[in-house]
């Protein structure tokens, strides 16, 4: 399969393609809210040891080298939600991040790699609500969407009305993607209807914006909890399911990701709808980037290597990828300070 780039009239990034979204030959639709089917959440079977073994051996089974490795690292950039979510964020800090998002790689790297035509940018810039407008302005004309974390991020425990309202405000401010967090207590207590209702309310509030549901997998602790929460979030209409806020003790791991992508696969088979996946937090290296891409490719297939269905939530990973690409070109190991910070 050779995929042709899509030429967009507005001069936006060519790294986003509109390829048919299909799984095992079946064309899928964008996700929408489904009636809550508790059987699907209840029937979840996850064997932790087996999942851990698969996750561990998968990395040993797949590797990419040379030009392929470079291409895959570029792919990781295209699927990256470049993120800043710190208490000390400021408007200037956000503008700096947006500048990096427009030009994730230094000019000389782009030229040497021969990838000018890709007009490579990151998948999105992810910020707190307070900086949505700043980011939207900074990214004007780039085609890069702004994602806002919302719904009482990172705990998800403020009153529901306020959480819904926050989403409205972010969308009004120009956010095209909304990353909400779920109330983890609903999962612990098996309050699936309440969890479903909340996410459905967030989805409605988000309107045309893409809704990513953060499960807080580090808090959920067990893989079965992760799977059940994934099912409820998907039935409630989430466009993406996302592992972590980046604030938990443990963030994105391969076993957690494997369980979530398997849920996405089963969901697609049952409903005909495609849901995206976003591992976030703790992914810092180029090697991790290719591990995750391989996981998506093998478990879900090529469509899940597009930013429309796959994102990395990361801030530090871009620097390591740049160093790796530099090494690819020169054969010399690069130093961090040689690459502009985000």
């Amino acid at each position: 399969m050779v995929l042709q780039p899509v030429t967009s009239p507005n001069g936006a990034s060519h790294s986003v393609q509109s390829i048919p979204v299909a799984l095992n030959g079946r064309v899928l639709e964008t996700n929408r809210r489904m009636p809550l089917n508790l059987d699907w959440a209840d029937q979840v079977r996850v064997n932790t040891s087996a999942v851990e073994r698969r996750a561990a051996t998968h990395c040993a089974r797949r590797t990419v080298k040379k030009d392929t490795q470079a291409a895959w690292l570029l792919r990781a950039i295209a699927c990256m939600d470049l993120t800043t979510l710190s208490g000390d964020d400021s408007a200037d800090r956000v503008r700096r991040l947006c500048a990096k998002a427009r030009n994730p790689l230094q000019r000389h790297l782009v030229e040497s790699l021969g990838i000018e035509e890709l007009r490579l940018t990151v998948g999105a810039v992810c910020v707190y609500h307070a900086f949505v407008e700043t980011a939207v302005r900074a990214l004007e004309g780039s085609g890069i969407p702004v994602a806002a974390v919302s719904a009482g991020f990172p705990a998800g425990l403020s009153p529901l009305a306020e959480r819904v309202d926050e989403i409205h405000r972010s969308v009004e401010s120009g956010a095209r993607e909304i990353d909400i967090v779920i109330a983890r207590a609903h999962v612990f207590n098996g309050e699936w209807q309440a969890l479903y209702d909340e996410i459905a309310a967030f989805k409605e509030a988000a309107g045309p914006a893409r809704l990513k549901a953060i499960l807080g997998t580090g808090d959920l602790m067990t893989l079965r909890n992760v799977a059940r929460a994934s099912w409820v979030a998907m039935m409630a209409g989430a466009d993406f399911i996302k592992t972590s806020t980046g604030k938990e003790m443990v963030n994105a791991t391969l076993p957690v990701s494997l369980v979530m992508v398997r849920c996405i696969r089963d969901y697609a088979e049952r409903t005909g709808c495609a849901v995206g996946f976003k591992p976030a937090g703790g992914i810092r290296t180029a090697r991790q980037a290719t591990d995750w891409l391989a996981l998506m490719k093998d478990e879900l297939g090529r469509p899940w290597l597009e930013p429309s269905l796959f994102r990395f939530g990361a801030s530090g990973m871009l620097g390591d990828i740049e160093r790796q690409l530099e090494h690819h070109l020169t054969g010399r190991y690069s130093a961090t300070y040689r690459h502009p910070i985000a």
């Binding site: 790294s15 079977r45 990419v64 021969g114």
Partner: protein
């Protein structure tokens, strides 16, 4: 479009070759020509001939390897024999140092060994690098520990001597390690023959052994063909033979060693079930199948090649499996991102192809993924055969390739039935999230290794080996060490008679009255006492309708014993098989029954002794009865004390090593002590849950009459003990040949032991004989305890991963 841009769009995996430079350099250093390793040196083959070993993924020659012949076998065995005294004279600690050094050396050169293995065998570098070679090092580490602890942990044991080992091509260095590490740790010296297709890593290891200064002759590596492999196992200078390979060759080895007392361990073929219940994590089960049947191209003796899936989830599982098969990458094995490498040889490839054709001809639906298989080299695509039935050849026979057959079941009982519907019994994999289901099936399945929610897990500390025609003996752990040790006292025993005792009488001739002049007058006419066979708790007339006279030591007639024949044995075996529930009664209950036998024997002590005295004299009779009572107590005590252990291998697993009953055991009792000898064999068998068909010695078969009265009054369930009198040599043949008998114990003459070894090859039943010695049944240190219980059980290792 630049290359990188294009790859950015396609997102295919590119080539990721492992650099074979170092391995190639090593081959070149040896001028790509290898001699045999005999007596610590590289020795040119007596034949002067060499054969080529090639890379199955390309067909290209890798190196020339010496083709050994009989003279080389002689030289290697002589070298091993010569090295034996000094090697055995070393302390356990000193041997441990060598094994430790070998483990370190394997680790230090792990990548070279992995690359060589992949070049020679065709397995993916991921497997040789991440699985085979690390397990090799682990095995030597583990056994360095056993060498260190040998005197403390096996104080009553000594090494077998010179060990001849023959290993297969599917895990060349790993099987080498499984054979060599325990043999050396126990103090044996070794002559090992790697497979013709894959000799290189064994030779590389020999070089490592030189580097660590392993004394010359302790390890000898012969590269020869199968014919000279047979010369090795038949060699009179070899005390113990260990073999891993096909059941077919296992049979040949059984035959070749049947006329000797060589100790034998066999790890043979399998058609291991992979059971998936409706409450399993199906996605994980699919990955389990990938590791079960597409590991090493399915060329794995314990491959989960027989998928049994609960009907309710069968279609879901099959469709998940097919989707997964589409993402398996078949290709050059040195590529780091390849899942399935090359089949070892064109011959093997052809065998696989033919088997799949047979399956399809028998009605199977064949499914293979669309992904490409290289046109050149020995490659076969991952294959799923569904719509197959237990009667199909592809379900019964080992394919030894990447071919999975799938069938459904409705209930756990049916799953167990299908799982056990095979002549093999190597491994099983059980997938269920319900611990009750998983452990219930684990206990029911006839297999030496059971993996719950996992598959193909191995560790040096956990025994590996089969039930039934998958062989016997274990590799790894304590039970694996015992395969390379014998009791010290065994060698001090007097020799057993070479010839079988002459028949007491010809049943067709007249019964000879005892000599009137012997002065012995029995109180009651001996003819008034009718002794019958004891089958299924019933006293049964012999099928033959004949009886034979039994004479006392003064030549006086003691009575007549039933003359058993094939049909009596057939009936007795059937009764023994029907009593298999005995294995599932609790140890406490079995102990109660044994104690009850003792209690009743105490009651009848005097009468039994009086009758036995006529055959063995008053003094021996009294001792036999009293020791019998003690022995019954001993085994009643052992019943709930000969137990398994729990291993903690690397990873989050517990492994339950559980001694299980072997099944129906045929016993040919010794004549030295007609009562005590018989009971010394029957008791450990039934204590561990086996059922027995025992043939008392012709010296005093009337003991049956005393025993069945005891058994009848002691709550022994019907069929647990069956006693058939007759001519032991005749009955031995029927019993040895009977496929319903799982093990046969013969403690009689060399002639009968040889007969038993030869006649029992059919179903590869376990054979235990006195190995040419006359046991001292009156010495409890030798005639009871662990040595006996070990033979009455086989260890099942159940791997249970945990964690939520």
């Amino acid at each position: 479009m630049s290359s990188i841009t294009e790859k950015f769009y396609t997102m295919e995996y590119g080539a990721a070759p492992e650099d074979p430079k170092e391995a190639v350099r090593w081959l070149d250093l040896h001028h790509r020509r290898f001699e045999e390793f005999i007596g610590g040196a590289w020795v040119s083959p007596a034949s002067g001939q060499y054969i080529t070993t090639s890379d199955p993924s390309t067909g290209e020659a890798i190196a020339e390897v010496a083709l050994g012949n009989k003279d080389d076998v002689d030289a290697a065995v002589a070298a091993a024999r010569k090295a034996l005294p000094a090697w055995q004279a070393l302390s356990g600690h000193e041997r441990a140092r060598y094994l430790y050094a070998l483990a370190r050396q394997v680790q230090k050169h792990s990548r070279r060994l992995a690359v060589l293995e992949t070049m020679d065998n065709g397995k993916p570098i991921r497997e040789s690098r991440d699985i085979d070679i690390p397990l090799v090092a682990r095995h030597f580490y583990h056994h360095a520990g056993w060498a260190q602890l040998l005197e403390a942990e096996f104080p009553q044991y000594t090494a077998c001597g010179v060990v001849g080992q023959v290993i297969p091509w599917n895990f060349p260095l790993l099987m080498f390690a499984w054979k060599v590490a325990p043999a050396l740790a126990a103090g044996n010296t070794v002559v090992i023959k790697p497979a013709k297709y894959t000799p290189l890593t064994a030779l590389a290891f020999a070089e490592l052994a030189m580097e660590v200064g392993l004394p010359p002759g302790v390890l000898n590596v012969l590269t020869c063909d199968a014919r000279n492999g047979q010369v090795l196992v038949e060699h009179p200078g070899v005390d113990k033979v260990a073999f891993t390979g096909s059941t077919e060759v296992g049979r040949i080895i059984r035959k070749a060693t049947a006329n000797s007392t060589k100790k034998l361990s066999l790890e043979l073929g399998g058609k291991s079930p992979f059971m998936v219940f409706d409450d399993a994590d199906l996605d994980s089960a699919v990955e389990g199948l990938v590791d079960a049947i597409w590991f090493n191209q399915g060329q794995v003796c314990c491959a989960g090649s027989r998928l049994l899936v609960q009907e309710r989830v069968a279609e879901t599982l099959y469709s998940k499996l097919r989707a997964r098969m589409e993402t398996l990458r078949v290709g050059p094995p040195l590529d780091k991102a390849i899942d399935i490498g090359a089949i070892v040889s064109p011959v093997q490839l052809e065998t696989i192809r033919k088997m799949v054709e047979t399956g399809v001809a028998e009605g199977a639906r064949c499914w293979q993924p669309a992904n490409a298989v290289p046109e050149k080299g020995c490659f076969f695509p991952p294959t799923l055969l569904t719509d197959v039935h237990p009667a199909a050849r592809v379900v019964q026979e080992e394919i030894f390739g990447p071919v999975l057959v799938g069938m459904t079941f409705r209930t756990p009982a049916e799953a167990a039935e299908l799982a056990n519907n095979t002549v093999y019994g190597l491994a099983a994999s059980i997938w269920s999230e319900n611990i009750n289901v998983a452990l219930d099936l684990a206990s029911q399945v006839k297999a030496g290794v059971v993996w719950v929610n996992s598959t193909n897990q191995f560790d040096g500390a956990c025994g590996f080996g089969g039930y039934r025609e998958s062989g016997y003996g274990r590799e790894g752990g304590r039970e694996g060490m015992l395969e390379y040790l014998t009791p010290k006292w065994l060698h001090t025993l007097p020799a057993a008679p070479a010839k079988a005792a002459r028949p007491a009488s010809d049943p067709t001739s007249d019964i000879n009255a005892p000599d009137e002049d012997d002065g012995f007058t029995p109180a009651i006419s001996p003819i008034d006492r009718t002794v019958k066979q004891y089958i299924g708790a019933k006293q049964a007339r012999p099928d033959s309708g004949y009886s034979f006279p039994v004479y006392g030591r003064e030549g006086e007639l003691l009575g007549e014993a039933p003359l058993g024949n094939r049909k009596d044995i057939r009936n007795a075996v059937e009764a023994a098989r029907n009593a298999s529930g005995w294995a599932r009664t609790t140890a406490h209950n079995r102990a109660q029954v044994l104690y009850y036998i003792a209690e009743n024997m105490i009651q009848r002590r005097d009468e039994i002794a009086v009758r036995l005295a006529a055959a063995v004299g008053e003094e021996q009779a009294a001792v036999e009865v009293d020791l019998s009572i003690q022995r019954i107590f001993s085994y009643a005590a052992w019943t709930d004390k000969y137990e398994g252990v729990v291993h903690h291998p690397p990873g989050r697993n517990i492994v339950i090593a559980m001694p299980e009953a072997v099944g129906a055991i045929g016993i040919l009792a010794p004549s030295e002590a007609p009562l005590l000898g018989l009971l010394s064999l029957v008791l450990p068998a039934i204590a561990m849950g086996n059922t027995v068909v025992a043939v008392p010695s012709e010296r005093y078969p009337l003991i049956i009459g005393d025993l069945y009265q005891l058994l009848d009054t002691s709550d022994v369930p019907a069929g647990v003990v069956n006693l058939v009198a007759g001519r032991p040599t005749e009955l031995a043949k029927t019993l040895s040949e009977h496929d319903g008998i799982e093990a046969i114990w013969c403690f009689r003459s060399d002639e009968e032991a040889t007969l038993v070894r030869n006649a029992s090859i059919g179903n590869m039943k376990q054979v235990w004989t006195n190995d040419g010695h006359e046991y001292d049944w009156f010495n409890p240190a030798q005639a009871e305890g662990r040595w006996f219980l070990q033979h009455a059980t086989q260890v099942k290792n159940i791997w249970v991963p945990y964690g939520e």
